[in-house]
Symmetry: C2
Subunit: 380 residues, 2 copies
């Protein structure tokens, strides 16, 4: 929901609107966003793999629509709430990347599958009992529920732990007429943020070998994984190999953040994606000798990945420190920012930061061009 006070609709389209926002405001640079969307789409196309961008990053129908228009085959959602928002908005081919287990979630999955129709929605499964529960709940669904076997990929956040368990689960699903086995998920969240490219590359190669082995073994038994899905922004270029993955789940590339800029940018070789996401704050107190206080704290920036980095409005050498839930300490370099001055930051970690905000303030330079809701915010 948009706060009635946050949505300064009279400012939309006005040059300078960026300087009149109520702070703190989540800012999205439309040009950078669209270049990121187009670059990843072109990359996947050139490599002959599909792109199923992860909605958990942006939780936005407007952005998902632009990704699909640029060539994405569908979207990935980690929560059922995100998937419900996307299916209801008409986004095609939605994959839910985490198991739905409790009775109420299973009932919602089946309801959503009916709404989405054949080919419209899939969910991962990593447990035989869950597969049986899903099958039992499909009563009245006019088509089989489409599922992927989830492999833990060594990370084991979700997913079957061993190759043998993956195959056993695939056999059960293949034998269950109320379920349709579409493919395999192998997502290794722990590989995405390995900064050293050689280490990341070696780890990703190891996973691809395992995945290829599972797929070959299944094929020998007559089980076809039409879809093999995985990879994030950190390994997208390594994993875009048709013989391992048929599609990529990368999400953060649309926005980038401090963390991924470090991972994807090697010395002399900048990241192919630009930072498009910022948080704009204002200086609300300027009485201390070495810092000013800005109106963005832990309710505005995720705290799991370091501190926000100054992007605009203060000397780049200025440093941010968390200063409570609603404030930040800007240890300024150079001239002291004045009371009321706007300071914009690159977010440390984009996904959980977006989840703190109700809306994107979409800007083209100094012009506020749109306000997009974070549609699935809080849809855990």
């Amino acid at each position: 929901m948009l706060s009635d006070t946050q949505v300064n609709t009279p400012l939309i389209g006005l040059t300078g609107g960026r300087q009149s926002l109520d702070t703190p405001a989540l800012l999205l640079d439309l040009g950078a966003l669209m270049r990121n969307i187009e670059r990843m789409a072109a990359f996947a196309k050139a490599r002959g793999v599909g792109l199923r961008p992860h909605v958990k990053t942006h939780k936005s129908v407007e952005i998902a629509r632009r990704q699909v228009a640029a060539g994405a085959i569908g979207v990935s959602c980690v929560t059922l709430g995100e998937a419900e928002v996307m299916v209801k908005a008409g986004i095609p081919d939605v994959l839910i990347t985490s198991p739905a287990v409790t009775p109420s979630k299973i009932a919602r999955v089946v309801k959503l599958a009916r709404l989405a129709g054949p080919g419209g929605m899939m969910v991962v499964v990593d447990d035989p009992r869950n597969a049986a529960d899903l099958a039992a709940a499909t009563l009245g669904l006019p088509h089989p529920l489409e599922v992927l076997v989830d492999y833990g990929a060594g990370y084991n956040r979700t997913g079957a732990a061993t190759e043998a368990q993956v195959l056993e689960l695939a056999r059960r699903i293949a034998a269950e007429p109320r379920l349709k086995l579409r493919g395999l998920q192998a997502y290794a969240g722990n590989l995405q943020h390995i900064v050293d490219r050689e280490q990341r590359s070696a780890a990703a190669a190891g996973l691809r070998e395992t995945v290829a082995r599972i797929v070959a073994q299944a094929r020998q038994e007559g089980i076809h994984f039409e879809i093999v899905t995985g990879a994030g922004t950190g390994t997208h270029d390594l994993d875009a190999q048709r013989d391992a993955f048929t599609e990529l789940q990368a999400g953060s590339y649309v926005f980038m953040d401090a963390e991924y800029t470090q991972v994807l940018g090697a010395p002399g070789q900048p990241s192919p994606f630009e930072v498009s996401l910022f948080v704009q704050t204002a200086v609300v107190s300027a009485n201390a000798a070495d810092w000013v206080t800005v109106d963005g704290g832990t309710k505005c920036f995720a705290t799991d990945a370091g501190v926000p980095l100054v992007a605009r409005g203060a000397e780049p050498a200025s440093r941010y420190a968390f200063f409570g839930d609603e404030h930040g300490k800007l240890l300024f370099a150079g001239a002291r920012p004045a009371l009321g001055e706007r300071v914009e930051f690159v977010t440390p970690h984009c996904d959980p930061t977006v989840n703190l905000h109700d809306a994107y303030h979409v800007v083209d330079g100094d012009t506020l061009v749109a306000i997009w809701p974070v549609d699935a915010r809080g849809r855990h």
Copy 2:
């Protein structure tokens, strides 16, 4: 906004409703909440000080109403968005504890003051230019804008840095007919979480001495601080001294969390307040040897104050570790929790955790008795 899928209204009033929630769910134990509200109200009354509980903790009209009904003189809000929600809901005597600086925020403050009427709303000021800007914006306001001088209290998140600056600002405001000087704010956020009680006590005593000196000096000049406001849950019992503070701004006592339970509970002397706030998760994957995965991660628990603690549904010796944005790793002790089992946690830090959720699921034992929106969620 409540997610239509989160609000299982048919369950309200049903025994066992607590076990049928869509997870992750923010849980509020109604009995513990009410006991906390009543205990703090009785404490403040016994000490002869006012209680102006901080809304930043709960952002909830329902909870603010219960605090006022129990004797609170009004509420504190850190953001203008929170204050707008409270004034519009009819909550009396709202103090905004952080300066409003940008032109749009100042315009909103004046608009809200008109709506609240005399005695209905106050805002802190820590800068002469901001005082002048506020005065200039009051055109058409039928009563003076009511303000408090904000003193940095050695923490200097907001507030005038020195006693001399406080007095100079008070003089300016007293001389400005469009502003009405109501009092002084001296809030030291850095003292609230000092675990050692003697250290905390000494630091709080030092601040109270300074505050008393400022008030006495002002009185000599004919300036009366009718209100002296400050103190949080961590120093509420130390600062409840009428010769220093006329009122307390404590907020977290309504919920408590892992952090404050440690601060307020001494060996052999448990905290006077109970934990009333929990997050309920469900086990969504159970394939790893040493852990199961629950469906609550960094979009569900604030990450600025350690990890969630097991409260219910698993052996107390089980440990939680963050496992990405939507998942937690439960390193279980004793029997392995089964797929779908509910595990409830005490939050590490209540305020920013509440801000991640759209609604409280209010429970009385196993019965879901109400769903209350987090009205001011995201109202930065």
